[in-house]
Assembly symmetry: none
Homo-oligomer: 242 residues x 2
């Protein structure tokens, strides 16, 4: 993923470092800084943690025009919905695949405005579209690096729809095994006298439903049947001692 | 949105503040802290910015068990894919609507582990499922507040486009009820002599995990405990007849 992240006039070096870290966790690595208040800065390096390499490679320029000069698609981020002029408004989720598609043909960029006031109208003029991050209307004050995190996360989700999953070590039990488990529990229910007051299959069906939802693996079925066998054995040995 | 955010053993007060801010920007406001290294703390208040009210209302408890005792659905977050045991793995996007659905019937929670090492296996035992945030395999080191931001963002997106779901007829059992169920099965395991060959808590833990995955409702817990009580009663009456 080679989407360019452009921070315009960041005031706090810590935010630059945190933004770099946020980018790198999601696999983005092309960081540009427009007229940063202080850069390089030890506070940026500290907050970047393992993403200090992004800071070393960061491009520093004086104007947004320079940062987007070679870009084919530029999206600005905004906390507020802008009404003075019409801009195509995208959610982060909608913007991500469009950025990736443009990025395959050239260089696509996301632009983040300065802390507190955001992008100016002149800066929006440089953008093809605008991303509005969904937020609490009572408190929209997303930190700069948090906005970067959300956009980078959406880009990663869009780029990598095949998301890794935890692997089962033991295969799921086949249905026939679950049937044997159900038959076994039926035996125990009868042996200990725990049966439906009104008769009928309700109680056993409810056990079946729990087992189905739990998605039991073969070891777990063996374990449950081991317990059921132990209950029956103990009972019959108690009976034979009478 | 009333999803509980639980931070386990946060070491840096700044992360608590940044997490509160991240939550509030997305409309979440129920913050619990398990054994924080330092709280309250001026660094937390500074980083919270306009979300200091969340810190004032935050609940501080000593153990994760206390924080989830009244919760009907608990999801742990993990940077790594865990392979020792199988847990249902969800993306943040998949987890969000399930949390919201459970939250409509009771209290649902997302749990974040301590910085660097994350949740322990004992803490995962308290969870019904696991969220794995998609990340760059070469650098998965998401800052705590950034992980909170992504989950809160997905919850907000899901809340904005809530889809009608099948409703449960019976509410999910809270964690404290599941603890009583586990204690009850422990009694039965000992009574019938079905215990770990090598000793240790493995067997009981595997039962806990099945129950957690099955997302038991209150009637089902009652039914299971009814069966366990019947097993114990039959055994003791058989014993007394000897």
């Amino acid at each position: 993923m080679s989407i360019r992240f452009i921070l315009v006039a960041p005031r706090h070096p810590g935010n630059i470092g945190a933004a770099a870290r946020a980018m790198k966790t999601m696999g983005a690595d092309d960081l540009w800084l427009v007229a940063p208040a202080s850069f390089p800065d030890p506070e940026a390096t500290t907050r970047a943690a393992g993403a200090a390499d992004l800071l070393e490679r960061a491009q520093v320029v004086a104007t947004l025009a320079e940062a987007v000069a070679d870009c084919n698609f530029v999206v600005g981020t905004s906390a507020r919905l802008r009404t003075e002029f019409y801009w195509p408004g995208l959610t982060p989720r909608e913007a991500a695949p469009r950025l990736l598609a443009a990025g395959e043909e050239g260089t696509a960029a996301v632009v983040f405005g300065t802390e507190r006031s955001g992008l100016t109208n002149a800066e929006f003029e440089r953008c093809n579209a605008l991303i509005h991050v969904p937020a609490n209307p009572a408190y929209e004050s997303l930190n700069l690096s948090q906005a970067v995190q959300i956009i980078a996360y959406e880009l990663r989700c869009a780029a990598d729809l095949a998301i890794p999953r935890p692997r089962r070590l033991v295969p799921l039990a086949p249905a026939a095994e679950l049937d044997r488990l159900t038959a076994h529990i039926d035996q125990v229910l009868n042996a200990v006298g725990f049966t439906d007051r009104a008769g009928g299959p309700t109680l056993l069906k409810r056990f079946e439903r729990i087992f189905a939802r739990a998605e039991l693996d073969q070891h777990e079925v063996n374990m449950l049947r081991g317990l059921l066998a132990a209950v029956l054995t103990q009972r019959s040995s108690a009976d034979s001692e009478r």
